[in-house]
């Protein structure tokens, strides 16, 4: 339909015209779909189809201007030729002439009056990550991307312009070739909630992607309706083109390492109170430098035979690097093969890709196979049909990060983790802690094997009704099924509760999305000055989801990991359906080439809302004014002022209108239990609303060599459906209410210097991406009930008591927790921790009675600096990223304080006679009259650390600011002269490094990592048992035939 639509654009009659045809390709001969072809000095033009092919009627001696997303414009003089082959070179400043907007409508960049940003194929594919969203880091303004850590196949969250929803979804809509796809994030199975399940957009193969456009604001996404309430990522995949067969083959290998480890205390051995101890997992033992020996009567298995022997008097071994040594080098192999071509009527693109990843965690694997077929058929001059089928298979073996990392934190330094067997000859764990499994056992004997089969299929038809009129229809299916088997075999210590007989989960998930979109387009040029484009459309969206999770407890026979081989089974089942209907209209009007107006209107009906209040209407208007057309200044080649207003809305979660009893499993003495839920439904829910304004300024200087795009936005979300907390004494803890209100204000800006230096063979293009968002929680409850907990210990095995909250008056994601008690300040004061510490009669600080504001997770800003340099056949580039501000709770360090392993316990006090560990600390503060006071020296004993210090969450709040080299690459294109004799069209070798340099004051692992997985809420900020992030070096080869 796109091609048809744009074809209409150009149906303008010219006197004495003749028809010419052309093909637009990129430097490597790949077709550039939907390139814009204009006649210089006239208003006429056309656009290429999916295969880069265009036809146009032109007058003799015309000059054509060809432009496309992410490429430099090219002018060609038509002369009297009737066919052209146009090759465009890549435009590194990411400023394209044509952008894909909502519903896949391609528009002239200058005609749109809201902020979008496009990332092209090369950028995404060269990123080389398995999750394409990870490659957007530092390259798009206005987004915050957080990866779930170093396990293979882990999820990533992306939040555009701040969090809209307090307790609901905050993830954008992913649209592939005009059809929304499922990006749901799976809940981990049962007890294994720390298994890092992915967001389903990970299934897309980056190699098949032509371009990705981020639609940020309401005006940009209004036409998508409720699904895009948090913005949209509009992805266009590669298409075939008319011509002979093109073959492209790519191979890449990547070597990954953990990029940062937590800071540990050093020099202390296992033990208690300065003495060695055989039962503890803590490092409160002797100093290693004192060369201690095992005390008399110590029986220990030092070699993994399963038989403790008397080791009294032997020197105690000391292996301080077990944490680091647990991780290995990760290896990834990527293969991809693309075939494309076609005839006059039909073109095709076939993409095959395979990714095999071995992570930095032993045995942690991830694999992805993707096969895609894109077919475009011009059935008749009026009708064209596009078909797309994408099959994806992913799977691997992953681990419960909570258990594994907790076990690793407990691994004491008496054994060498790499050499000490994790099980003895009798098959038992060689491990001293009775309820936590050795991390080595976890990754060698247990884990979750999973497999996902996914089909994404679309069929679309574009029909040209009449001059200026076209209709198109698109039907899309997205279905995936997942099976998981999570096994703890007999002997697993974590299954202590059932006599170490192990347990397993057998999980089946099935999800189906159906999307139907019908659109009628009208496009007309009125005289020389007015251009009108209008459309009306209708959308039906259906989603069905079903998960069945069977927990089997206690294996009967060993080594048979089947659910029928367990003594007790508990079943969890959840399923739902949802449907929305939408109708919409869009009217775009432009006057001459400098004034652009657009208005949209959409009405949605949703099955999740009450029947009497099940629909909502929302408008958007935007306007752009190209003032540079009046200034005629050479230095200012482009100047545009734009503004937009949009209302968007969102529906309710499924089944939120009723209150249903919950089956409490398992049965007890075979009695089934039903319990009233803790979250009650609300039959009177209304849609959530957001209004957004944005104003923007686009300035191009010196023929757009310097280009600035800056947008200020302000949005207000109200009537938000929240799980409003209620006093537990009401018998429930939460109820669905329409009462949340938040605001987000911010700036996103890109500044591009194209060809900063351009010499004969050398070019350098540099671009900055800046994002700043300030959120504020205006209302979350009534009657002084002003807080919704977004993340705390109830979401995982957290050690500290810090929580991430939506608290009235604070930024979204405020961190609350216990602090040292302060003097002369109320606990509700946001500056509580800036007041002096209260030192009572004892001269020792104490815990604040309640939780106070300790920080906030939102960064002050994020700045990305992208550079690309070319010299002859070489290209080089890097992205440097600076995130300023924002705090993170170093929860891991809380656990490490407890066990005497964290850096905060480096100074300690054992006894008056102990050499090397007799530190004290004197706190300075005020007495209870507010008079300055120097406290009593505190002996830094274990009791102090674990009884007092550890309970002060304030001690674990750290600045998450960082500088990082997000990526750096060097590529070499083998010259054509070398390749031609080999019948090779192109070949490129490149070396790239990702995340290879990181500078941060954060003492834990990479502060970018989230511990909350990739859930729809996307709330991050507590570093609990996270697997370290990775840095990697890649080599890749691309050959085109």
């Amino acid at each position: 339909m796109l091609s048809a639509l744009l074809l209409l654009y150009s149906v303008l009659t010219f006197a004495q015209s003749r028809e010419v045809t052309g093909t637009v390709t990129n430097a490597s001969g790949q077709p550039i779909p939907l390139a814009t072809v204009k006649i210089k000095g006239a208003r006429a033009g056309t656009s290429a189809d999916q295969n880069g092919v265009f036809t146009l009627k032109i007058a003799p001696q015309t000059t054509l201007i060809i432009s496309a997303i992410g490429y430099e414009n090219k002018e060609i003089s038509a002369g009297d030729r009737t066919s052209f082959s146009v090759q465009l070179s890549q435009d590194n400043k990411s400023l394209s002439e044509v952008v894909v907007t909502a519903l896949g409508i391609t528009r002239d960049k200058k005609a749109i009056s809201y902020s979008t940003q496009t990332v092209n194929a090369e950028t995404i594919a060269s990123g080389g990550r398995s999750n394409l969203v990870d490659d957007l880091n530092g390259k798009v303004a206005g987004v915050q991307i957080t990866n779930a850590g170093g396990q293979a196949g882990a999820g990533t969250t992306i939040v555009i312009r701040g969090y809209n929803s307090l307790t609901g979804n905050n993830q954008p809509l992913y649209v592939v070739d005009g059809v929304p796809i499922d990006n749901s994030a799976e809940q981990g199975s049962g007890y294994a909630y720390n298994v890092p399940t992915a967001n389903r957009a990970i299934d897309l193969s980056p190699d098949d992607i032509e371009s990705l456009t981020v639609l940020k604001g309401g005006a940009a996404t209004a036409l998508y309706g409720i699904q895009a309430a948090n913005g949209a990522l509009v992805i266009t995949t590669k298409k075939g083109r008319n011509g002979k067969l093109n073959i492209e083959f790519g191979y890449g290998h990547s070597l990954a390492k953990a990029n940062k480890f937590p800071a540990f205390s050093h020099g202390f051995m296992r033990g208690t109170g300065g003495a060695y101890n055989t039962v503890t997992t803590n490092n409160w033992g002797p100093t290693a430098s004192s060369n201690p020996v095992f005390p008399a009567g110590t029986d220990l298995d030092l070699v993994g035979t399963g038989v403790p022997v008397d080791v009294s008097g032997q020197k105690i071994p000391y292996y301080p690097d077990n944490y680091k040594n647990f991780f290995v080098n990760g290896n990834t192999n990527k293969y991809n093969l693309a075939l494309s071509g076609g005839g006059d009527k039909t073109t095709y693109y076939v993409g095959l890709s395979r990714l095999d990843q071995d992570a930095i965690v032993r045995n942690n694997t991830y694999g992805k196979t993707s096969a895609v077929l894109n077919l475009t058929t011009q059935v008749s001059p009026r009708l064209s049909i596009t078909t797309k089928i994408n099959y994806i298979n992913t799977g691997g073996l992953r681990f419960d990060a909570g258990r594994m990392m907790n076990g690793l934190a407990y691994y004491v330094n008496t054994w060498d983790i790499t050499a000490f067997p994790w099980k003895d000859p009798f098959g038992q764990e060689t491990w001293w802690q009775k309820t936590i499994s050795s991390p080595m056992w976890s990754v060698h004997e247990g884990g979750e094997r999973y497999k996902i089969n996914r089909y994404i299929a679309n069929i679309g038809a574009d029909y040209k009704l009449a001059r200026d009129w076209s209709v198109n229809y698109r039907y899309g299916l997205d279905n995936y099924s997942e099976s998981r088997r999570n096994v703890d075999p007999i002997g697993t210590l974590s299954s202590w509760a059932t006599n170490y007989l192990g347990q397993m989960h057998e999980v089946r998930v099935n999800s189906l999305q159906v999307n139907s979109e019908l659109m009628l387009n009208y496009d007309h040029q009125f005289g020389e000055d007015f251009h009108l484009h209008g459309l009306v459309g209708q959308n039906v969206f259906y989603h069905k989801y079903d998960v069945l999770d069977i927990t089997g407890t206690s294996f009967v026979l060993p080594d048979l990991f089947d659910i029928t081989n367990t003594q007790t089974q508990t079943i969890y089942h959840s399923s739902y359906q949802k449907q929305t209907l939408g109708v919409y209209g869009d009217l775009q009007l432009s006057y001459k080439d400098f004034l652009f107006l657009e208005g949209t209107l959409r009405n949605d009906w949703s099955s999740t809302l009450p029947r009497n209040n099940d629909h909502f209407l929302y408008p958007s208007v935007s306007a752009g004014f190209l003032f540079s057309d009046f200034l005629h200044q050479d230095w200012l080649s482009y100047g545009k002022l734009r503004a937009s207003y949009a209302g968007t809305a969102n529906d309710a979660p499924v089944n939120a209108l009723t209150t249903a009893y919950t089956s409490v499993t398992p049965t007890v003495f075979a009695n089934t239990r039903f319990s009233y839920p803790t979250l009650v439904g609300n039959p009177n829910l209304k849609p959530e609303r957001t209004t957004q304004q944005e104003v923007g300024l686009d300035l191009g200087f010196f023929k757009k060599k310097i280009f600035l795009e800056a947008t200020y936005y302000s949005k207000k979300s109200f009537d938000q459906i929240i799980k409003a907390p209620t006093s537990d004494a009401t018998g429930v803890t939460q109820q669905y209410l329409n009462l949340g209100e938040t605001t987000n204000k911010g700036i996103d800006a890109t500044l591009t210097f194209k060809d900063v230096i351009k010499a004969k063979d050398f070019t350098w293009t540099s671009a900055f991406n800046f994002s700043k968002n300030v959120s504020k929680v205006v209302r979350v409850g009534d009657n002084g009930n002003d807080k919704v907990i977004l993340l705390d210990g109830t979401f995982g095995a957290q050690n500290s008591t810090a929580e991430i909250d939506a608290q009235k008056g604070q930024h979204f994601g405020a961190i609350f927790g216990y602090a040292w008690q302060r003097y002369g300040v109320n606990e509700t004061d946001p500056n509580y921790t800036k007041a002096p510490i209260l030192l009572g009669a004892s001269g020792i600080p104490v815990t604040s009675p309640g939780k106070v504001l300790l920080g906030n997770t939102s960064p002050d800003f994020i700045l990305g600096w992208n550079n690309s340099l070319t010299y002859k056949h070489f290209n080089f580039g890097f992205t440097l990223e600076w995130r300023k501000g924002g705090d993170v709770v170093n929860d891991m360090n809380n656990l490490l304080t407890y066990s005497g392993k964290g850096i905060l316990t480096q100074n300690r006090y054992y006894s008056a006679t102990y050499a090397g560990a007799n530190s004290t600390k004197t706190y300075v503060g005020v007495d209870d009259q507010g008079k300055a006071k120097t406290g009593t020296p505190v002996q830094l004993t274990k009791l102090w650390y674990t009884g007092t210090f550890k309970n002060i969450d304030e001690n674990y709040i750290e600045d998450a600011s960082w500088w990082r080299l997000r990526n750096v690459y060097l590529g070499y294109s083998i010259p054509e002269s070398v390749l031609r004799p080999l019948h090779v069209k192109g070949a490129e070798i490149s070396v790239a490094g990702r995340n290879v340099w990181l500078h941060t004051k954060y003492t834990g692992i990479d502060p970018e990592v989230s511990s909350a997985g990739s859930g729809p809420n996307g709330v991050v900020g507590i570093d609990v048992n996270s697997v370290p992030a990775t840095k990697s070096w890649d080599v890749s080869l691309k050959v085109k035939f």
Binding site: S495, V664, S675, T847
Partner: protein, 514 residues
């Protein structure tokens, strides 16, 4: 003109599409998708009863014990009250904190959550929706409500009730005075007894199913109701020594008449565990694996020095340093961690309390006899006091040694122990003896045992002391000037019911003890 025509055409065609899709039938159909496919909108009395008994009541007496383990819903209360009354000592983490009176509001979230949101809410709905022939269910539900409220008020004093469990009307329920709560508790117990009486008299009553506590035995429920009435009257020993003793003795008589006639554990008010999964096993079993709570040294010392036959039924040993198997190197109350062999409620097959399938005691016949002894003593009837005291000790010892695997060596100690500690006469019986022996036999009933200790101002047993911060220094300093009197209201109440939650420190006595 042409332009206007085209715009009109656009609008008309748009309206047409709109008209098509706004067709009423389509939209009615739309609403039908939003149906909960997995969960019922109504639940039956038996399913609610099991939920209230096992997910709710269990939470108080059961999962409280399971410390940091998320397995039974987390939390730690009843077991941890054992620290405050001297049965237990904290061995690490939160255990050590509690041992030093370091309490945070956040530590007690589960207490309200389990009581109100799980137990009381389901009981309320059971009572509200019970069928006419389900009067027995209503009776049981009333008794459980009374148990739950009595338990909570003994920990907190004032708690929400008159405005509780009605989120639409009272999103922030006020706190009722403790005396009013005790009135409600007694009323509910009386009503429960009456409902059960009527149900037993009615020929149309359905059999009780889903009752894992007494398996539908309404007679035992009546007995348990009287036992609880006796317990809660006796809580008034300071406020109204005579009246509380008189009422308690009446209830003791009624409880015996109603069913507590036989010795042994058949009649004890006990929550059982099937032990089949980690979610349905006795939480002490999990606590043993975690090791956070161990035997308090003075308590252990007293059991050992008195040659108490219950030692192995109470405690299993758990690995300590160095391989010594000698009992007695248990944890001292001050929190000096990691030296020696610990004793814990554990999984030995002769353990009465700590096996995966051991029941969790809520109220017992020996407790009833001790209430009788204490109340009779208060009224000057020392003969009755001595008799009840002796019977209580004997019965409880016999019960905890009644397992098939109970050790013969332990049984052999019974006679000597009974001769020394359960052979009181009207002349020899004292309050100290009653409360000291009661303290021993209330093992694991920590909430109520702590109430006994607080009622008697921490005088009995005599070895109770305020914990010290660090016992390794020459003159250890107590962590506080006085004994702990209550735990803190949950942080969730400070957050969500800010205006109503009373201010109280852990040293403020609950009203009934003031």
């Amino acid at each position: 003109m042409k332009l206007i025509f085209r715009i009109l055409l656009l609008i008309v065609s748009g309206a047409f599409v709109l008209e098509l899709s706004s067709c009423k039938k389509t939209l009615d159909n739309l609403a039908s998708y939003n149906v909960n496919e997995n969960q019922p909108l109504k639940a039956s009395s038996p399913t609610l009863l099991t939920a209230a008994e096992f997910s709710g009541v269990m939470a108080d007496e059961g999962s409280f014990i399971s410390a940091t383990s998320a397995i039974n819903g987390g939390g730690d209360g009843d077991g941890f009250f054992g620290i405050f009354n001297g049965h237990m000592a904290g061995n690490h983490a939160q255990g050590v904190d509690f041992n030093q009176y370091i309490l945070k509001h956040g530590d007690f979230q589960f207490l309200f959550n389990d009581a109100y949101a799980t137990s009381l809410m389901n009981l309320k709905l059971l009572i509200l929706n019970a069928l006419p022939n389900e009067g027995g269910f209503v009776g049981i539900a009333k008794i459980l409500e009374a148990y739950q409220l009595g338990y909570l008020t003994s920990v907190y004093g004032d708690i929400p009730w008159s405005q509780a469990l009605d989120v639409n009307k009272y999103p922030q329920p006020k706190y009722d005075a403790q005396l009013a709560i005790y009135d409600t508790v007694q009323t509910f117990l009386s009503e429960g007894i009456a409902w059960i009486k009527a149900a037993k008299a009615s020929s149309t009553s359905t059999a009780i199913t889903g009752d894992i506590i007494y398996n539908g035995d309404l007679g035992m429920w009546t007995a348990a109701a009287y036992l609880l009435k006796a317990r809660f009257y006796n809580h008034f020993s300071k406020k109204d020594p005579t009246g509380s003793a008189t009422s308690a003795l009446l209830m003791v008589d009624s409880a015996k008449l109603a069913g507590f006639t036989a010795n042994g554990d058949a009649g004890n008010f006990t929550l059982p565990y099937d032990g089949l999964t980690q979610y349905t096993q006795n939480p002490w079993y999990g606590m043993y694996a975690n090791g956070m709570l161990v035997a308090n040294l003075p308590f252990l010392d007293s059991l050992m020095s008195q040659n108490d036959p219950r030692l192995n039924a109470y405690f299993s040993s758990i690995d300590g340093v160095g391989g010594s198997n000698t009992f007695g190197l248990g944890k001292v109350i001050s929190g000096n961690v990691g030296t020696g062999k610990y004793m814990q409620v554990g999984p030995d097959k002769w353990s009465y309390y700590g096996q995966a399938t051991s029941g969790e005691l809520l109220a017992t016949y020996p407790e009833l006899l001790m209430i009788e002894a204490e109340a009779a003593f208060r009224l000057g009837n020392t003969t009755r006091a001595a008799t009840a005291h002796n019977a209580a000790v004997t019965d409880q010892i016999n019960t905890v040694l009644s397992l098939p695997a109970s050790l013969a060596a332990d049984k052999a100690k019974v006679a000597a122990y009974v001769a020394k500690y359960a052979s009181e006469t009207s002349g020899s019986i004292t309050l100290e003896k009653i409360m000291t022996e009661k303290h021993k036999l209330m093992f694991t009933l920590e909430g109520e045992s702590w109430m006994d200790v607080r009622r008697t101002d921490y005088k009995y047993p005599s070895w109770l002391t305020i914990p010290v911060a660090n016992d390794t220094i020459p003159s250890p300093v107590p962590v506080a000037a006085s004994f702990i009197q209550r735990v803190l209201y949950p942080q969730s109440e400070l957050d969500k019911n800010t205006t109503n939650v009373p201010a109280a420190t852990i040293f403020d006595k609950i009203p009934i003890l003031q």
